[in-house]
């Protein structure tokens, strides 16, 4: 695992994209093929299943380090990462492990079959033979939490440099449902594979939020506009008599949305559609929470299916008759999509996401302002002449979301963050006034700069009223503007309200706590936007 640890260290030490790509490309050139495959798997989020509970790991690590368990537990929140805490407290290694990454992964896979004493012996032996980074990585791998600051795009670029295969081609190959157990480096990266090709989705094209207003985009006639729906982006594939539904996160969601199986009856084989899955009833989208149940519930009851029926709003046609349409201009793809959909019956769970005609930018601004009434969160702008690209790219696609809703709220609890932010108080609970009481209504952990987090952390330490485990109740002194995308009724929350995507938009140093918003203000927002 030394070679892999060296790669990890090189990636961890730099923030420069080029240095990361160079380190990865070198690895993909000279590491053994099984290790390369595992690295691709890990960097594309294909983590091994957790082989042992973290409770046992904590106990074993404390025991091996000669520490009482309570002391180990005190270290964990300071370090912010279990794998690292274990690596740091253990005594120095007594031997040197020579197993490669793939050999280690095989060993980890075998842990699942062992009884607990054998499993413990294996893990202790590994700890004794690994030092520093290798030990940390081993712990990451057995806890199933491996992450490193390398995006899939960046990894793909490095793979392209190492193999000479085009980036787009590689991105396509890496999608889908493979694991290192089901394929090889040669099969995944190098050889053509028709079976995998059947289910393989295209990389999603993602838009950036537009900065300011769209005047700078030039002639409105060059652009198509449509609603930006607040659902789950999905890619529906109909090939070879079967169908697949992929999420943007490359998860296969086919089983979650059985309604869409009908697509096989309506669409010819060799069709791939990019669209948005929405909960849909009475000709408008249901709140996102309804859709969320469809993903999170273990089984889909009849009742749930009836409560939250879904609809795929189609944006784009990526493949028709087995031909990749992505290089063609959007205008052409859209015309073909419309022709295809003209033949669909009314009962089809597939609908076109309508184009929004606009004569000038001012007219589009008006359409955008009314988007919430249509159940959308803004509009999308796509250049009519643009091909369908892969990943997040600037230039041809822009999202123009509505300004978020906001309330001013008082911070009442603080909790330390995780990982990189474990030494800072970053997770806060906010409250609004209900008469003379402060009622908590949301948590937020993003939106401040590192400097602001440092400042608030110092303040939290000096202004703690009470501690509840890792949570500190703080003096209700600071007001923050909380921005969010949606508001819903929620019996599970004390305030009766739940927010979607809450974050700290601004630290309102100018506002005394007494001037924060009230629960009635929130209820009014719920009535108008819920």
């Amino acid at each position: 695992m030394k070679r892999f640890a060296a790669l990890f260290t090189a990636l961890d030490r730099t923030t420069r994209t080029n240095a990361k790509i160079a380190a990865l490309a070198a690895y993909f050139t000279d590491a053994p093929e099984p290790d390369r495959l595992w690295t691709v798997a890990l960097l594309s989020g294909r983590r091994p299943r957790r082989a042992v509970t973290t409770t046992r790991l904590r106990e074993w690590a404390a025991e091996r380090a000669g520490l009482p368990l309570w002391l180990f537990e005190e270290c964990y929140p300071v370090v912010g990462d279990l794998a690292e805490t274990i690596a740091l407290v253990l005594p120095q290694a007594t031997g040197t492990g020579t197993a490669s990454l793939s050999e280690r992964m095989a060993e980890i896979a075998a842990l699942a079959q062992m009884d607990e004493p054998a499993r413990k012996a294996r893990i202790l032996a590994a700890w004794d033979s690994l030092d520093g980074t290798e030990r940390f990585l081993f712990n990451k791998l057995i806890t199933g939490g491996f992450r490193v600051g390398v995006s899939q795009t960046l990894m793909t670029r490095a793979l392209a440099r190492a193999t000479g295969i085009a980036e787009a081609d590689l991105a396509h190959r890496l999608m889908g449902d493979w694991t290192p157990a089901t394929t090889t480096w040669a099969a995944l990266i190098e050889a053509p594979d028709p079976a995998a090709a059947l289910s393989r989705p295209y990389p999603f094209y993602l838009a950036y939020q537009i900065e300011g207003d769209p005047q700078a985009l030039g002639d409105p006639a060059d652009w198509c506009a449509e609603y930006k729906w607040d659902g789950i982006r999905g890619q529906l594939i109909v090939r070879g008599g079967t169908h697949f539904l992929w999420s943007r996160g490359e998860e296969l969601m086919t089983d979650r949305f059985p309604e869409l199986a009908q697509a096989r009856d309506f669409l010819p084989p060799g069709t791939v559609i990019d669209g948005e899955i929405l909960g849909w009833a009475d000709d408008r989208p249901l709140p996102f929470a309804a859709l969320q149940k469809r993903i999170t519930r273990k089984s889909l009851s009849k009742r749930l299916l009836a409560e939250a029926p879904v609809m795929l709003k189609a944006y784009d046609l990526l493949e028709e008759g087995g031909t990749d349409l992505r290089p063609r201009p959007l205008a052409q793809r859209r015309a073909r999509l419309e022709a295809l959909f003209a033949r669909l019956p009314d009962r089809s769970p597939l609908r076109l996401s309508p184009l929004l005609p606009f004569a000038d930018w001012a007219a589009l601004a008006e359409t955008r302002a009314a988007a919430r009434a249509a159940g959308a969160e803004g509009v999308m702008l796509k250049r009519a002449a643009a091909p369908y690209l892969a990943g997040r790219k600037k230039g041809d696609w822009w999202k123009w979301k509505l300004d978020p809703l906001t309330v001013d709220a008082v911070m009442i609890y603080a909790q330390a963050g995780h990982g990189r932010r474990a030494t800072l108080y970053t997770d806060f609970t906010f409250a609004v006034w209900d008469g003379a009481d402060l009622v908590p209504f949301t948590k937020a952990y993003s939106g401040l700069t590192d400097a602001e987090f440092r400042e608030i952390t110092a303040w939290v330490r000096k202004n703690t009223l009470q501690r509840f485990g890792p949570v500190r109740q703080v003096r209700p002194e600071h007001v923050f503007e909380i921005a969010f995308e949606g508001i819903q009724q929620s019996p599970r929350h004390k305030s009766g309200i739940a927010l979607r995507f809450p974050r700290m938009a601004r630290w309102r140093r100018d506002k005394p706590p007494a001037e924060a918003n009230t629960l009635d203000d929130l209820r009014a927002l719920l009535a108008s936007h819920g």
Partner: protein, 335 residues
């Protein structure tokens, strides 16, 4: 009457009527070392070791400062005091107070590994020991200094080979000079930020040998020093001072760099785990060697460290300081 009491102004010796490292103005202050959380302005009389005095004067200006040699015994009121090397920075001391045969020692900040620059730490037998515990958790285990310096040298040499500057953040008093004295000066020239150069000048004037450095001023021709190591306080790394060096490699030398989360959050390319405080083993060893029955812990992970000591059979208590115990964020930029 206890030899030492813990008051709102700091640690107080009733028999000698003096304070140790007080944080509010007092009549007589015994100072362990020149870091700003120990040597504060506003006291009427100061006492510190002779090698600590120049920096304290440099920082606090015209104060009434008396000096004392290491090991020299001095009677103050009904107490007998002496200063003993703490190994933290040049001149730093533990302070031993004896009253009617009862001995208490206040550690100040200390580290147990000899750094080649500071007077090496000497354990002092005591009935009661007041110990810092900045790094009082078992996750802090320092590698030998030689190994860390070798990592820094390798990093510097690799950057120099690419024609890049190596910007290394280190606290201006102590850490910076320890690095100067320890790195391989054959790799290239060493540039300094004004805050560091000022401390170096004070130390050179008192006879501490440091390699030559080039202070960076607005007029300095940086191109003439390509591949140099540039030492700066950590806070200067993200500022306009650092921008002059172009796409330099950046590093930080601090005990907190042992934590990956801190390393990443601080936004430097490299974190070198080099501390002027004792690590977990060092703290435990130092406490053991004092033979103290009572241990008071201060500065750091006091709650946890006290409980650990109590588990080990010590009579352990916490001393509150003006600031709440956890020092991670304040201490990253401070001693």
């Amino acid at each position: 009457m206890s030899v030492l009491t813990f008051t709102e102004r700091g640690i107080f010796c009733p028999a000698g009527n003096f304070f140790i490292d007080p944080w509010a103005p007092v009549d007589r202050a015994l100072i362990t070392h020149g870091h700003s959380d120990h040597a504060r302005p506003g006291h009427r009389r100061y006492l510190a070791t002779a090698p600590a005095a120049p920096v304290i004067r440099h920082r606090l200006g015209g104060i009434a400062l008396d000096t004392i040699g290491y090991g020299e015994r001095r009677r103050i009121g009904d107490s007998l005091v002496s200063f003993h090397p703490a190994g933290h920075v040049p001149g730093s001391a533990q302070i031993r107070i004896e009253v009617a045969g009862e001995v208490w020692v206040v550690s100040g900040d200390y580290k147990t590994e000899a750094d080649g620059l500071s007077e090496p730490f000497e354990p002092v037998r005591a009935h009661a020991f007041v110990s810092e515990c900045t790094f009082g958790l078992p996750v802090f285990n320092w590698a030998p200094q030689a190994q860390v310096l070798a990592e820094i040298d390798a990093w510097w040499a690799a950057n120099a080979a690419e024609g890049r500057f190596s910007l290394l953040g280190a606290y201006a008093l102590g850490k910076a000079q320890r690095l100067l004295a320890g790195v391989n000066t054959g790799i290239g020239p060493i540039l300094t930020h004004g805050a560091i150069e000022a401390t170096c000048a004070v130390m050179r004037a008192q006879g501490i040998a440091l390699p030559p450095t080039v202070p960076v001023t607005p007029e300095t021709d940086l191109k003439a020093h390509a591949g140099a190591l540039a030492l700066a306080p950590p806070s200067a790394l993200g500022g306009p001072w650092a921008r002059r060096f172009g796409t330099a490699a950046t590093g930080l030398a601090s005990g907190w760099m042992a934590l990956r989360g801190v390393r990443r959050r601080r936004g430097a390319d490299r974190g070198f785990v080099l501390s002027d405080h004792a690590d977990w083993a060092g703290l435990n060893e130092a406490i053991r060697e004092t033979g103290a029955e009572r241990v008071f812990v201060t500065h750091g992970y006091t709650t946890v460290f006290r409980r650990w000591l109590a588990d080990q059979g010590h009579d352990a208590e916490i001393v509150r300081t003006a600031f709440e115990g956890e020092t991670l964020d304040s201490a990253e930029d401070a001693p």
